[in-house]
């Protein structure tokens, strides 16, 4: 097949760019341990209130013995519960969600936090928030007529403020 020399040069440029991009993604994924969230854990959505982890009293932010944070939340038409949580910046945080009814999506604009909450499964995502500030937590999967109003608020405070507010950050609950 004849290819014009100039078109060949364009192809080299394109292949070079794609190779560079894939190489950068592959290397940083390998070095930083980045990969798509892939937790497979089932749960009975109709009996969340009876489960140990997703019962109303157990929702929210919990500090683990190793200093990491675990956030347990429930998504349901039309809100994420609890409606407002406060988290520290620059700290490993693991979010765990379950849906009480239909398919929902969780998205925090200006962060990399995004996942789907599928009924019958526990969605789990680990991340960190480098920048303190107020972030909305929005539903990005159409879930009904009130979908547009389905949001919660996440306040990220700097680590020093968090440690002042939670003197016993090694173990215990927030």
């Amino acid at each position: 097949m004849h290819i014009d020399p100039l078109e060949k040069k364009w192809l080299y440029v394109v292949f070079g760019m794609v190779g560079l991009f894939l190489g950068a993604i592959f290397l940083s994924a390998l070095i930083s341990g980045i990969h798509p969230p892939s937790n497979v854990e089932t749960i009975d959505s109709a009996r969340l209130h009876l489960s140990k982890e997703f019962a109303e009293d157990n929702l929210g932010v919990k500090i683990q013995p190793d200093g990491t944070i675990r956030v347990t939340m429930v998504a349901g038409r039309y809100g994420f519960f609890p409606r407002h949580i406060t988290l520290p910046a620059d700290t490993p945080i693991t979010f765990r969600w379950a849906s009480i009814d239909v398919l929902h999506g969780v998205h925090m604009p200006m962060t990399n936090m995004s996942t789907m909450v599928v009924p019958g499964y526990v969605a789990e995502v680990s991340t960190e928030f480098p920048k303190p500030g107020d972030y909305p937590m929005l539903c990005n999967e159409y879930c009904g007529t009130g979908h547009d109003f389905m949001w919660s608020k996440v306040t990220v405070v700097d680590k020093q403020t968090w440690e002042r507010q939670h003197p016993t950050t090694k173990g215990g609950e927030s």
Binding site: L20, F21, P36
Partner: protein, 51 residues
């Protein structure tokens, strides 16, 4: 009808290297690479790794 002078000019253009295309290739390629690197290393990764 082209005069001999115009024909010479035309042949000269056809036989010369396509400098403009190379410049365009370089500008478009470098621009896309820089924009991608900025979005990946300057925006995406600093927002915190997800796993």
């Amino acid at each position: 009808m082209a005069t001999p002078h115009q024909e010479d000019e035309r042949q000269k253009i056809l036989n010369s290297p396509p400098v403009g295309t190379w410049a365009l290739m370089l500008i478009v390629g470098a621009g896309m690479v820089l924009a991608w690197l900025f979005l990946y290393y300057g925006v995406f990764l600093p927002r915190g790794a997800v796993h």
